[in-house]
């Protein structure tokens, strides 16, 4: 084997070193290198050390001379042993030294997950490797490791890669993941576990959306979506394009985390733990962006060809629809189908914008198939934009048809939040009684004889703990506080049936306010808990 071979490639002198370099051959090695350098004094040098087995101090002196003659020097593919020698002698601080990446083969390995940028394989009992689609993925890998670490520090359960390897012509990240399974695989093979999956899936999602991220640590998803909408706008009728942009612009900056690619291939179960494996799309923003991407994962990508989902997730389109609907229901904590639909419609606007931009960006308009897809999304966007006034929704606000049949939904919505805040039983009862009185009033009188909607908002402040429930409707102006209080000293026979509701509310709450503003009745109840 030749100890030194070299060639100039793209303006870089690449020199491969092999075997041993010690006092017996160091002079010979140096003169061979000098021959290669002759007339190329200012050319950057790349020393490829994959086959270098040993280097003694005499050999190190050769490197030192070379570095002096030609400061632009890099050594790559260094074995662990050689790296140790270079590190001990301080050479790693003098020159750019890169360790050789371990090589891993995924041939015959089981695929256990798949994300936007890579595929996950189990390489042995304890380890999995994520192989990146992009051949030049070192930067992506670095980014993903950084955001995964950030997520872990902020309390998000995530797998951290401990090694970067070569997998054929691509790169991979290695994770320790014992017997982990993706939610997709569970849904595909054990459909009876659907409800458990929904619960755990939403638990992690809420954890992510409840996590505040220090400014500047993660990209702002709104900026990204705005840039997509800017491109899509050109393909929509002018008015719709403008509306799309202004709906996105109106979403305020939000410093809470969103995952960006939250679907069942990216959520793993390991023993009793739930772990996320795909973190490179982490960002901050309003949850509607996340729901938009989730809509795509479970519906959007496969809406025109249902086979796509089976290929990607391992379960069929119908299962996917049921799962997504249950997830939305659990996430929004409601049984109100109308409200779920309205939030999904907001998500679809984000989802279709992304799909349309992606297709156009990938030259889809040059094929008949691509044109048909873009036409479909364009039509769907047009219909959705027509009926959407805001892309925002709030899990602490219920938007519901003001009808007495919806009372159980309203009470459930309020009670869930009171229970979560450890509200004492007595106050809980007083608040729910008050909520019932007000909602039933709105349902009976605000829009009669027609129908309309009411919004119920629950806010709970810390220190002091104050529960505020606000009712907003667009019905006839009506201030219930003006109603005269009933005479509560009268005996039963002289009592009128009714008129007690508002009185009860005023007596049991600490503060009740009413205003009529912008065509809306706004009634607020406040109850101090401490």
């Amino acid at each position: 084997m030749n100890t030194v071979t070299g060639a100039c490639k793209d303006g870089i002198l690449e020199i491969a070193l092999a075997g041993h370099i010690d006092s017996t051959n160091s002079a010979d090695v140096e003169s061979k290198i000098n021959d290669l350098l002759d007339g190329r004094e200012n050319t950057p040098i790349l020393l490829k050390a994959r086959d270098l087995e040993y280097i003694s101090s005499a050999g190190l002196r050769v490197l030192l001379h070379l570095k002096k003659r030609n400061p632009d020097l890099k050594i790559v593919d260094v074995s662990t042993d050689i790296y140790e020698i270079l590190d001990m002698t301080g050479f790693t601080q003098m020159m750019d030294v890169k360790k050789a990446l371990r090589e891993v083969s995924v041939e015959g390995c089981k695929m256990i997950g798949r994300g936007a940028n890579g595929t996950l394989y189990r390489i042995d009992q304890d380890n999995v490797v994520k192989v990146y689609n992009n051949a030049n993925a070192l930067e992506d890998i670095q980014h993903e490791r950084e955001v995964a670490r950030l997520a872990l520090i902020l309390g998000i359960p995530t797998a951290i890669s401990y090694d970067v390897v070569r997998v054929g012509d691509s790169y991979g990240s290695v994770f320790e993941l014992l017997n982990a399974r993706s939610f997709s695989s569970i849904l595909a093979s054990e459909p009876e576990k659907m409800d458990w999956c929904v619960k755990e899936f939403v638990k992690v999602l809420k954890k992510i959306h409840g996590t505040e991220v220090p400014d500047g640590k993660l990209p702002d998803m709104r900026e990204t979506v705005l840039s997509w909408a800017d491109l899509v706008k050109g393909f929509l009728p002018e008015k719709q394009g403008e509306k799309l942009l202004s709906l996105i612009r109106e979403i305020p900056y939000n410093n809470h985390m969103i995952h960006g690619d939250f679907h069942t291939q990216n959520v793993m179960v390991q023993g009793d733990d739930i772990l996320l494996i795909d973190m490179e799309t982490l960002a901050v923003g309003h949850p509607v962006f996340e729901l938009g991407f989730m809509f795509n994962a479970f519906t959007g990508f496969s809406e025109l060809d249902h086979r796509v989902i089976l290929d990607f997730q391992g379960f069929d389109f119908e299962t996917s629809q049921i799962f997504f609907h249950k997830v939305m229901k659990e996430y929004l904590e409601t049984g109100d189908e109308e409200w779920i639909r309205s939030v999904v419609d907001k998500a679809r606007i984000i989802g279709y914008t992304r799909l349309m931009r992606r297709e156009i960006h990938r030259h889809g308009l040059e094929t008949e198939e691509g044109k048909a897809k873009v036409e479909f999304w364009k039509k769907a966007l047009g219909e959705l934009l027509e009926k959407t006034e805001t892309l925002m929704f709030d899990r602490n606000e219920l938007d519901i048809e003001a009808d007495v049949v919806n009372l159980p939904h309203v009470l459930e919505f309020v009670e869930k939040r009171l229970t979560a805040a450890d509200c004492p039983l007595k106050a809980r009862m007083q608040i729910t009684v008050a909520v019932e009185e007000i909602f039933v009033n709105i349902a009976h009188y605000a829009y009669a004889p027609n129908k309309g909607r009411a919004r119920v908002r629950v806010e709970i402040s810390d220190e002091p703990i104050v529960v505020t429930v606000t009712f907003i409707d667009k019905g006839v102006p009506y201030d219930p506080l003006k109603k005269q209080d009933p005479d509560v000293t009268l005996p039963a026979a002289q009592r009128a049936i009714g008129g007690l509701g508002i009185f009860l509310v005023k007596k049991s709450m600490d503060d009740v306010t009413y205003e009529y503003r912008d065509g809306q009745n706004i009634l607020s109840l406040k109850k101090n808990l401490k």
Binding site: P408, Q430, E437, V440, V488, P491, A493, R495, G501
Partner: protein, 99 residues
């Protein structure tokens, strides 16, 4: 969400309520009382398992009290503090027979 258990013995009717007496469930109690109160001289309402009462529930109690004033008596037993407080602020404690 409201379970009504009825026990009738000559002129005495005991009605045990379990769950919530609110806008959606009150009509059930109202209907049951309307159909069965005719020959009752003593009405006992057992609130032991009642978690919640709204003004719709109060209205049913008021009509029942009015009927029973004419034909006998009405008593409420095992009323929890939270419900009792609602009776208190609405003045219902003054005319209801709460034990």
């Amino acid at each position: 969400m409201l379970n009504i258990t009825k026990e009738q013995n000559d002129g005495t009717m005991k009605v045990a309520l379990e769950g919530r007496l609110d806008t959606t469930t009150s009509p059930e109690l109202e209907k049951m009382l309307k159909e069965n109160l005719d020959d009752v001289t003593e009405l006992i309402l057992d609130f032991e398992k009642l978690e919640y009462i709204s003004s719709a529930g109060l209205r049913v109690l008021l009509s029942a009290q009015k009927i029973m004033n004419k034909q006998g008596e009405m008593r409420l037993i095992n009323v929890c503090d939270e419900v009792k407080e609602i009776f208190e602020v609405t003045g219902f404690l003054d005319f209801l027979n709460v034990e």
